[in-house]
Each structure stands twice: as structure tokens, then as C-alpha cells.
């Protein structure tokens, strides 16, 4: 009988923000268990939450609580009785439970058995006081709430518990909503859930999601529409802001098909929380809107349509104006937009890049005699540099910064340039594009090289400039996001065979042409720190990072520069050269060590890679290498070295296959990481 007690506790807020809903179960569980810790009782917490209410159930609670005796050290034994009495009074202890040890008094503090029912009010208040919100405000001298609490209540085994919390008194009932205020009387969470369900309210997050999904599926079943990839995100978001979801299919009166699809989707998903629908591969002239009541469907559809139309109209207004402006118009404005105080204008930066990026490309293509078409494409791509800054569409859609310039290029059918812009503005895009097999290999290489060159050069230019005018980040503050810039450079470097030192040198020179004197040691040290952090973020073991920094720092980003050599076509020779150089050997032919790179690539590109065949391939390669090395060098500890090299690679393979779920992503991640580890072990 002792553990058959049930506590039901409810709270209604004017609103529980999304983030708070996401965290509240963890928070309440933590608070409840903290409260019960001293009684050595573990408690199960069942919680249902919506945007206006929180229902907490603690089942199987004991009837009584007993706190274990506590031994408290008192004063020294030579003190007067008076002092000892004061100690006992203060700690609420009895003289009969005092004993002496090592010249000190000790008192055993005995706790009475507590009836949990009498403590429920304290527990509820403890939970209410302890909830912390990411964005909150002080509502009185002690409490921070996310939004005002308007109704609280608790039942212990169906019996209402009376208590006060600031200006609120525990209520016997809750409401359907704080706005309509129809009374719901429930003495347990399940009772409340079922009563709410009877009036179409889903207080349980999962039930609500199922209802939403079911209604959406019904709509899809009865139409030819399908959901876009980002639908899940918006459906999840909607689930946090409704309790009584009613799902409606709304047909648009005006489609605004001239607007790029991504703009239309952004309006629907980010601005309006509508679910975009697809008709085959294009955005349909319909969407799903979710109301929080059973509203008048026609009026709701008409007005949702109207709202969306106004938003599209707005986007169209700016987009049309942006498309009617020429590159020359944008250049005129870029000449007036300052990068930063004393750093000149964006147009100046564009001019610097037009000198710098072709040099980088010359380095990339140093073994290819004719690469004029690449240089021409690069020059054209740079004409679009930062045109999104003065574009009006960006004001409304700041999340599309960068993308808007690509859309502009696409509008004029400059598809290659659009891809280059997407790549250099967003590294994730770059990596996605790089790893996709569906494009022409030659064109893809060309686009990737140009994207990486512009991406690195523009970020380096910004870094050099800000350090030049003394705007370096401090330990706790990086308002200009310069660390992020370095991380992005580090991400891009493997794709671009350039020396960062050379780029930097050139940029210094270009700035000096503008009479901007720059001091560079702090920038060097900053990049080094970021490189270290970058390696840490990639989960390298500390000793690997120590070695990487030791070898890499003097020539900065040496690791990444070498890595990109390995990553591209020279794995054999780089591997051998590095291995030999670091071990003082003098063998330079790649045939001496045969890691069959081509086989590895083949497996990857044919999507046939598995743990087993990759592992076999590596084993075979290392055995082969071991034999050849032993044979040629007669190095006694060669076998040990090679075994040492194999071990972390195998460990890594295990790690990678467990961590990543997407097959392609997994393989690419594995491959990249594998090569990095190969390098490091060679470097060691």
C-alpha cells in the first residue's frame, strides 16, 4: 500500500515558449529527484506539455518519507555546557544523542517520519520556483518566469491540495484555454488528458504530433501533393504552438511562380509556419495551414491566403526591383558601402579579390598549361561578389543572404556562377556539392576550385582587414565572428591547393597600396589558436593535436595544406614523401608503399564500400607496405610502426560507422578522416 500514491500537479501559463517546452521534462525530473534525494527515494516523472499547460504526474509515491539520521560535529569537548546547548538548539538536536570523539562533541540529528501528503504543497512550490527559462523576466522580487503563470493546482490521490504561490491559489480545476476559460475538472493526468481530448485538445506532445501527421497524411492521400524535405521541421514547430490542431488545405489564388522557390518556401515555413506542398518536383499552388481552433474553414483559408499573398507580394516587390538592377548598379552602391571604419568600401575588397583570386587559381592550375576558361569564369563570378548586400530582398529574407546573389545569377541563367556563389558563401553547400556524383567531373572541379579560392581569399581579406584596424576578438567576445571565418578557411583549405601564407602576403600588400598599415603577428597567433580548436573539434586525441601544433604552427596550417595534398590526387607521393622525410628515409617512389588508392576511390564512387571490404583493403595495403618497407630498409621496428599506424585507423572505422547514419556521408566522412589520421601517424 505504501507505494500506491499518486500526485497530479498542473500549471497553466499564458504561454510556454518552444524552447521551454523542449526542456521542461528534463527540468522537472531533475527538480523532483533533487527534492527526493535526501529521502533516498527515486521518483518517476510523467509530463505532458503544450504551449499553455504542463501536466505533471508522479506515480507510485510512498506514503511517508524518512530522512536518514545525520551526524553533526559540534564544539570541542572543553567548552562550557552553555555553548554546547546553543549548538544543540541551533541544529535542533537532543542531548541524549550527543557523543564525544577525538575531543569533539557530535550530535545525531534524528528526523521525524514525514507524511508526504503534508509536503506536497512544498514540492509543487519547489518545482515552480526551480524552473528556469532561457528567456525570462523578473515578475516579482524572487521569481523569473518565461510568461505569467495563471493557474496552478494539485491532487494527491484524487484529493485536492490547497496551497498558495505568490498571488495564486491552487485551483480545483483547469481551463480548456486561458482565453475561453471553460472549466476542466480532473484529478489525474490521464483524467485531464481524456477530458481535454473530448473537446479536441491534445495536451500530450506525441499525441498532438500524431494527430497533425494523420490529418496531413489524409490530405496528401486525397490529393496529388507531397511534402517538401523541410516539412518535418515546420510540422514540429507547429506542434509546439497549438494544442487543438485543425489542419486545412489552402489553395492559393495567385501562385507568384516567378518568385524563386526558395523565397516562397522561406515565406511559408519561416514567416508563416505553413507547410509547403510539392506537386511532383515543383512547389504546388497550395499549402497546409493549421489553426488552433475549429474555425470557420472558408474564412480561415481566405485570410491565410491573403496573408501569404501579402508576403509574396512583398517578396515580389523587392525581387523584381533587385532583378531590374544591373551589376553596374550594384557596383555603384558597393562603392558607398563601408566594410568597416577605416577599412574602405566593399567595392575595394572586390577589386582586391579580382587581383588575388586569379593568382590562387594559377597556383592550383600550375601543372595545367591552358586554364584560361577557368580564369574567365572566375572573373565573371567575382562580378557578383557581395551584390546581395545592397539587394532589397535581403532586408526581408536575411536568412537568404548569399543565396539571393546566387538566385540573381540564376535569374540571368548563369548557373555555374550561381553554384560558385553558393559554394563560397556556405561551406556546407560546398561540401554537399563536392560530394555529389551527379555532375560532370571536369566542370565540378572547375567550380570547386574557383569557389574555394574565392571563399578563402575573401575570408582572409576580411580577417587581415579587421586585425589591421585593431578589431581582434578577445577571449570572451568575438562580435565580428572572426573565429568562424578562420574555421571556414580551415574547412575550405583541403579543397584548394594554396598556401595560406602566400594569400596573406598578397593581401597585406594590397592593403598597403591603400595606405593601410597592418601588423600581422597577432593574426598569426589567432589563426594558430583557431587551428588548435579546429583539431579539437574534429575529436583528435590531445597528443595528436600537440604534435600537429608543434609541426604545423611554425608554417601555420601546414597540416591542412598537407592534408589537401593527400586528399586530392597525390596521396601516394605525399604519403611516401612525408613518411620518408619525417623518418629520415630517402625513398621517393610511390610504388614503394602501395596503398591502393585507386581501389579505394573506386569503391567509394561505386557505392560499394563496406566495413569489410574497406578493412580488407587497408589490411592488404599495410601488409604490402610492410613487406616492401622491411625488404628495402631492413628496419627492425618497421612492423611495429606499421601496426601502430593501423590500429587507430581501425578504431576510427569502428567509430565512424557507429556515429554516422547516412551512408554517403558516412563514407565521405570516413575517407576524409582516414586520410587525416594517416597523415598524423606518418607525422608522428
Amino acid at each position: 500500500m505504501n507505494n500506491q500514491n499518486n500526485l497530479f500537479f498542473f500549471v497553466m501559463y499564458e504561454e510556454i515558449p518552444v524552447l521551454a517546452q523542449q526542456n521542461v521534462l528534463q527540468q522537472v525530473s531533475q527538480l523532483v529527484n533533487d527534492w527526493f534525494t535526501k529521502y533516498k527515494v527515486e521518483v518517476e516523472v510523467i509530463l505532458h506539455v503544450s504551449h499553455i499547460r504542463m501536466l505533471v504526474e508522479l506515480p507510485n509515491l510512498p506514503q511517508t518519507l524518512h530522512q536518514k539520521d545525520e551526524i553533526i560535529r559540534g564544539p570541542r569537548t572543553h567548552v562550557s555546557q552553555n555553548i554546547l546547548n546553543k549548538f544543540l538548539d541551533k541544529n535542533n538536536c537532543d542531548m541524549q544523542f550527543v557523543f564525544e570523539k577525538d575531543n569533539f562533541y557530535y550530535a545525531v540529528k534524528k528526523y521525524d517520519m514525514l507524511n508526504l501528503q503534508n509536503e506536497i504543497a512544498n514540492l509543487c512550490k519547489y518545482i515552480l520556483n526551480g524552473l528556469s527559462w532561457s528567456t525570462s523576466m523578473r515578475w516579482n522580487s524572487e521569481v523569473y518566469w518565461s510568461r505569467p503563470v495563471r493557474c496552478i493546482g494539485a491532487y494527491w490521490n484524487d484529493q485536492h491540495i490547497n496551497f498558495d504561490w505568490y498571488d495564486l491559489q491552487s485551483s480545483k480545476f483547469m481551463f480548456d484555454s486561458l482565453l475561453t476559460r471553460n472549466i476542466i475538472e480532473a484529478t489525474s493526468a490521464n483524467h485531464a488528458l481524456s477530458q481535454l481530448l473530448n473537446i479536441g485538445r491534445y495536451a500530450n506532445h506525441e499525441h498532438r504530433k500524431q494527430k497533425l501527421q494523420k490529418e496531413i497524411d489524409t490530405i496528401l492521400l486525397n490529393t496529388n501533393y507531397s511534402l517538401h524535405d523541410d516539412a518535418d521541421e515546420v510540422i514540429n514547430e507547429i506542434n509546439y504552438i497549438v494544442e487543438a490542431p485543425y489542419v486545412y488545405l489552402v489553395k492559393m489564388k495567385k501562385s507568384f511562380a516567378n518568385l524563386p522557390e526558395i523565397i516562397r518556401r522561406t515565406v511559408m515555413v519561416q514567416h508563416q509556419q505553413y507547410v509547403p506542398l510539392m506537386n511532383k518536383k515543383t512547389l504546388a499552388d497550395a499549402f497546409i495551414a493549421v489553426a488552433n481552433y475549429d474555425v470557420n474553414k472558408d474564412v480561415f483559408a481566405h485570410q491565410s491566403n491573403l496573408t501569404l499573398e501579402a508576403r509574396f507580394n512583398d517578396a515580389n516587390f523587392f525581387w523584381t526591383e533587385d532583378c531590374n538592377s544591373s551589376l553596374k548598379d550594384y557596383d555603384t552602391i558597393l562603392q558607398k558601402i563601408e566594410i568597416y571604419k577605416n577599412l574602405g568600401f566593399v567595392y575595394d575588397q572586390k577589386m582586391r579579390l579580382q587581383k588575388l583570386v586569379p593568382n590562387i587559381l594559377q597556383d592550383i592550375y600550375k601543372n595545367i598549361t591552358n586554364h584560361d576558361d577557368q580564369l574567365i569564369l572566375c572573373e565573371k563570378a567575382l562580378q557578383y561578389y557581395k551584390i546581395d548586400l545592397p539587394m532589397k530582398t535581403v532586408y526581408e529574407f536575411d536568412s537568404l543572404e548569399g543565396e539571393i546573389a546566387a538566385l540573381y545569377a540564376e535569374h540571368f541563367k548563369k548557373y555555374e556562377i550561381a553554384q560558385i556563389i553558393r559554394n563560397y558563401t556556405n561551406i556546407d553547400n560546398f561540401e554537399l556539392y563536392f560530394n555529389t556524383q551527379q555532375f560532370d567531373k571536369e566542370l565540378k572541379n572547375k567550380i570547386c576550385n574557383i569557389s574555394a579560392a574565392i571563399g578563402i581569399a575573401s575570408r582572409m581579406d576580411t580577417l587581415v582587414g579587421f586585425f589591421g584596424v585593431g578589431q581582434m576578438p578577445t577571449g570572451s567576445s568575438d562580435p565580428l565572428g572572426l573565429r568562424r571565418l578562420v574555421y571556414e578557411i580551415l574547412q575550405l583549405l583541403p579543397y584548394c591547393k594554396v598556401s595560406l601564407v602566400d594569400i596573406e602576403k598578397n593581401i597585406y600588400q594590397l592593403y598597403q597600396e591603400q595606405d593601410i598599415a597592418l601588423e600581422k603577428s597577432s593574426l598569426i597567433s589567432f589563426i594558430d589558436q583557431c587551428s588548435k580548436r579546429h583539431l579539437e573539434n574534429l575529436n583528435y586525441k590531445p597528443f595528436v593535436i600537440t604534435i600537429a601544433m608543434k609541426y604545423a604552427i611554425p608554417c601555420r596550417l601546414y597540416v591542412s595544406n598537407k592534408l589537401q595534398n593527400i586528399l586530392f590526387d597525390d596521396l601516394h607521393s605525399s604519403f611516401v614523401t612525408l613518411y620518408n622525410r619525417l623518418n629520415g628515409f630517402h625513398i621517393s617512389h610511390s610504388d614503394d608503399i602501395s596503398i591502393n588508392l585507386q581501389s579505394l576511390y573506386d569503391l567509394i564512387f561505386q557505392d560499394e564500400i563496406t566495413f569489410q571490404n574497406l578493412s580488407d583493403l587497408l589490411n592488404e595495403s599495410f601488409c604490402n607496405m610492410n613487406e616492401k618497407m622491411s625488404d628495402k630498409l631492413r628496419l627492425q621496428d618497421n612492423v611495429l610502426i606499421l601496426q601502430k599506424m593501423c590500429k587507430p585507423i581501425h578504431n576510427f572505422i569502428d567509430f565512424c560507422f557507429i556515429e554516422k547514419h547516412d551512408q554517403k556521408h558516412q563514407i565521405c566522412a570516413l575517407f576524409t578522416k582516414l586520410q587525416e589520421i594517416l597523415f598524423f601517424y606518418v607525422a608522428i
Partner: protein
């Protein structure tokens, strides 16, 4: 039977009467350009006062960036806000806000009224608060804010601020598709009364003003604010700040600002607001 349609001006009248019944003093709109009713001196200085505040007023609000030559269904250069400020905050304020919407034709459960988390802030006033944008059938119609900070400093006692977007509310209550089609009164349409201004202002906002002149004007207002503050004329300085803030909005609508330049101008604007408001607070404390 045809349903009677409440016109735009009647709606303002209903709101004024509603809030009058709630004990609010109805004030007049301020006669200087401003981007939102929050900038009305009675609101700003009312918030800063440390006693009871109950005021409501209509305030035409100019936002050059929202200019659309009258072609957008619900966005205009100059729209109308109805502003309510209350302290102490009634416990059922959320309900009262809904009742006020019901009074002008936005009724639950006929219409889907939703509170969407939107913590308001005004960088130029250094003001912020927790709150929502209240949507009716997906359209934002009311900003509901528990005002907690101004001039970068927390308020001792929070204030609730309700800002009604009257054009959008009228679009829903009159069930119209475009702001031009709204009934301004029983005899006139919104278009006839307002669109003449919209066209001209839109042209001016995007192509009319000289960027150099606006920048100079900004500098002059900034200078004048400092001058007036030295003479402890905080209200006059605040009026100059309103002009400065509107000038900043005009510069911004010209579209020739970089992120950093914009941040710099906002910083200067905020500094001016802070100086005006701090002087007022010091005066209050004395």
C-alpha cells in the same frame, strides 16, 4: 441580412471606448514622425515613471522601409497603430486583450487567434520585453509586450504594452483582400483618403532623398540633442531624437548601408535616446 461592417474610423472609436472603460486616459497622436506608437513621449516617459500608468492612443506610424507604392495588400509607408500602456498589469490582461479584439470583430473561436512567441525589442531605444505577436487567421494584428527594459536599463516595475496594427485588423474584420479596399468611413474608401500620400512617400523613400543630405541632417539632430541636454531640456531633446530616428529610417530605406554602418548609426541613435531618457529618470528621482 447583411452584416454591418465596422469602418476603419469606427474601429478606432470602439477601441478608444473599450480602453476608456478599462480606465485608460485617451491621448492624442503625437505630431512628429515616428516608426511606432512606442516612441510617443507619453508612452516612453510613462513607462519610465514609477507610478500608475493607464493610457491609450492612436498613433500614425511611418516606416519608410515598408513603403510599397500602395500595391502591397497589407504593408504601407504610414500605417496606424493603437497603443495601450498599463501599469499595474491586470492579472487577466491576456483575456482583456482578446476581449478588445472581439470588440472590433476578431472573435474566438470563429477566428484563429494565436499567441506566437516574439520577444520585442527596439535597438534605437535600448528597449526590450517578453511577449508575442498575436496573429488572427495567420496575420499579425497585435504586438503584446511585457515591457521590461528601456534605455538599456531594467524597469523597476514592468509595464504591458499592446500595439494594434489597425490596417491589418480592419482587413480581417472587414474581410477585404487589399488595404485600398478597406472602408475608411461609411462613405469613403481607404484608397481615396490615403493612397495619394503613399505613392509620393514611397517614391521619396526609395529614390527621392539625397543620402548626403540625410546623413548631414542626422549629424545635426545628434548635435542638437547634445546641445539641448546640456540645458537639461529632455523633452525638447527627445523630440529631436524622434526626428533623428526618422532620419535614420530614411537613410536605411535608401539601401546604401553596410551591416557595420547600420550598426554604427543604430549605436549613435541609441546613445541619443539613452541620454534623453536618463536625464528624465534623474529628474524623476530628484
Amino acid at each position: 441580412m447583411l452584416k454591418y461592417i465596422v469602418s476603419f474610423t469606427e474601429m478606432i472609436d470602439i477601441l478608444q471606448k473599450f480602453w476608456q472603460k478599462q480606465g485608460c486616459e485617451i491621448l492624442f497622436p503625437y505630431d512628429i514622425e515616428m516608426g511606432a506608437g512606442t516612441f510617443h513621449p507619453a508612452v516612453i516617459f510613462g513607462v519610465l515613471k514609477q507610478n500608475l500608468v493607464k493610457i491609450a492612443m492612436l498613433q500614425p506610424s511611418r516606416r519608410p522601409q515598408d513603403a510599397r507604392f500602395g500595391i502591397n495588400p497589407n504593408r504601407v509607408y504610414q500605417h496606424h497603430q493603437f497603443q495601450v500602456i498599463l501599469r499595474p498589469i491586470p492579472n487577466n490582461i491576456q483575456q482583456i486583450a482578446i476581449e478588445s479584439l472581439n470588440a472590433i470583430g476578431l472573435t474566438i473561436p470563429d477566428k484563429d487567434i494565436r499567441f506566437i512567441e516574439d520577444n520585442w525589442q527596439s535597438p534605437s531605444l535600448g528597449a526590450s520585453g517578453l511577449g508575442w505577436e498575436v496573429r488572427c487567421n495567420s496575420m499579425e494584428v497585435l504586438q503584446f509586450t511585457y515591457f521590461q527594459k528601456i534605455a538599456g536599463k531594467p524597469l523597476k516595475e514592468i509595464v504591458v504594452e499592446l500595439a494594434y496594427g489597425l490596417e491589418r485588423i480592419a482587413l480581417i474584420s472587414q474581410n477585404k483582400s487589399h488595404v485600398n479596399d478597406l472602408l475608411w468611413s461609411s462613405t469613403e474608401k481607404y484608397e481615396n483618403i490615403r493612397m495619394f500620400y503613399e505613392n509620393e512617400w514611397s517614391k521619396a523613400a526609395f529614390q527621392g532623398y539625397s543620402a548626403m543630405y540625410l546623413q548631414k541632417q542626422f549629424d545635426l539632430y545628434e548635435f542638437e540633442i547634445e546641445n539641448l541636454l546640456k540645458k537639461k531640456l529632455h523633452l525638447a531633446a527627445y523630440e529631436m531624437f524622434l526626428k533623428l530616428s526618422h532620419t535614420f529610417n530614411l537613410i536605411e530605406s535608401g539601401g546604401e548601408l553596410s551591416v557595420q554602418q547600420r550598426a554604427q548609426l543604430i549605436k549613435r541613435t541609441r546613445k541619443c535616446a539613452n541620454l534623453c531618457l536618463q536625464l528624465y529618470v534623474e529628474g524623476e528621482n530628484e
